[in-house]
Symmetry: C2
Subunit: 257 residues, 2 copies
Amino acid sequence: MPKQPESKILNQTASINRDAYEPVYSQLAGILRQSMAAGLLRPGDQLPSEAQLVERYGVSPMTVRRAINILADQGVVVGEQGRGTFVKPVAMSAATFHLGQFQTLFSDHEHTTVNLLETRIISADERVARKLGVKLGRRTIYMRRLLLSNNEPAFYHREYLIYDPKRPIVEAELEVIALQRLFSGNSESLLKHGNISIDATLLDDEEARLLKAPQPMAAFCFEHLFYDFDNKPVSWGWFIGRADRVRFTTQVGLSLE
Amino acid sequence: MPKQPESKILNQTASINRDAYEPVYSQLAGILRQSMAAGLLRPGDQLPSEAQLVERYGVSPMTVRRAINILADQGVVVGEQGRGTFVKPVAMSAATFHLGQFQTLFSDHEHTTVNLLETRIISADERVARKLGVKLGRRTIYMRRLLLSNNEPAFYHREYLIYDPKRPIVEAELEVIALQRLFSGNSESLLKHGNISIDATLLDDEEARLLKAPQPMAAFCFEHLFYDFDNKPVSWGWFIGRADRVRFTTQVGLSLE
DNA sequence: AAGTGGTCTAGACCACTAT
DNA sequence: TAGTGGTCTAGACCACTTT
């Protein structure tokens, strides 16, 4: 029996506020998070056992488990059956980056405009045919758009769409607003899933001109390939953004006290 | 009362296997995920109510909630109090990228070696002093390392460490193995939290030479700044990797049937 | 008023680990 | 054998939304 020693945090931390707007499980998760941020619980330390937390904070076992599950999902603690729950050391590999941080670019119609540069039907070349899983020469819709943020070019987007009159998505995509739907999602979507990838590239002449960038310049490329409910590719495209205006940032471990 | 219509999935999908290794809540989450992947539930559709799921699958309300919570955490459904739970449309903005996908580079000692190019004490210049929050001229440890994967250069790493004999981290970091600890974490770590960011850059002459890369070439830069439990910066550094050998990939929506 | 998701309880049983 | 995390039950109450 790995008898759990008395933990500092059981004596001195805050209590649950039953009248608060914040749910109990969330409050408890916060208390534990604070204890770690304050250094009362350090990497490798064992958390108080569930039974101890039940007693100390006057909540039910399920509520304690829920709080701990949240921390485990966030990757700050890890439970080991029969041994205990332990604080995870901070690691660079735990970092996650969210494409959603560019959400404002696509939803803020006040400061963002979409400039449709070109739309035309073209025959799929070898590259397009392979990506979209169609035969060479298949007719597809090719679109070029420029995203402007505060009248400054932010992203250059190119996209190939399967041309199929039966698919409502085609008409929908032809609207300029469709870019926002692609990024933020819309419930009439016929898309089932998609693959997204991030590359670092060099701007070519056309990209540099449109993005008003000097050359050579590094850039981010967000490539996307979406599939419908038949698991057939529907749309392939990529966003190009200047590296000096696009940046991914995230945190690992616990901060903000 | 938004009376929930009979859903197809209540009739035809699999049932819970009480003897399975997989927990019930996880099985139920899987069943619902399958229903979405198969197109029985589409973006915007309402999931069966909790009461219906309780009856259909013969589990308790808490178990149903837990299954739905998992899907909600994964961002594939969203609950609206008093209305129902709905399938989220697939959106590019939901994409998340995990630095942990490079884990093998740091943990696979079979095919990965770390080449310590240089270690020396230097005085902090303006840039280093600002990043590490110390005075100009403060003595710091400067390190350059090259990560080789299968004897091919993969990442070039540079790092500045606060020089403080009282801090055990210094001696630890001086070992070559320390890079893996930085990336994967270790329980003796005194690091509380860190900021990580991703940039796209151009290789300079030195970087291109070490990485055996032609020029010009785009590259990823992973910058890291770690803090101790006094919220003081301890380590600032960055990894440079060739863009043609580093790539982030992820999925949105539901695939694999 | 009825139906919905969201929270919480007070137990139970199990698998695992250390003594 | 005792302590641990992990799962699950069968309810309860609440806030909210729609009819």
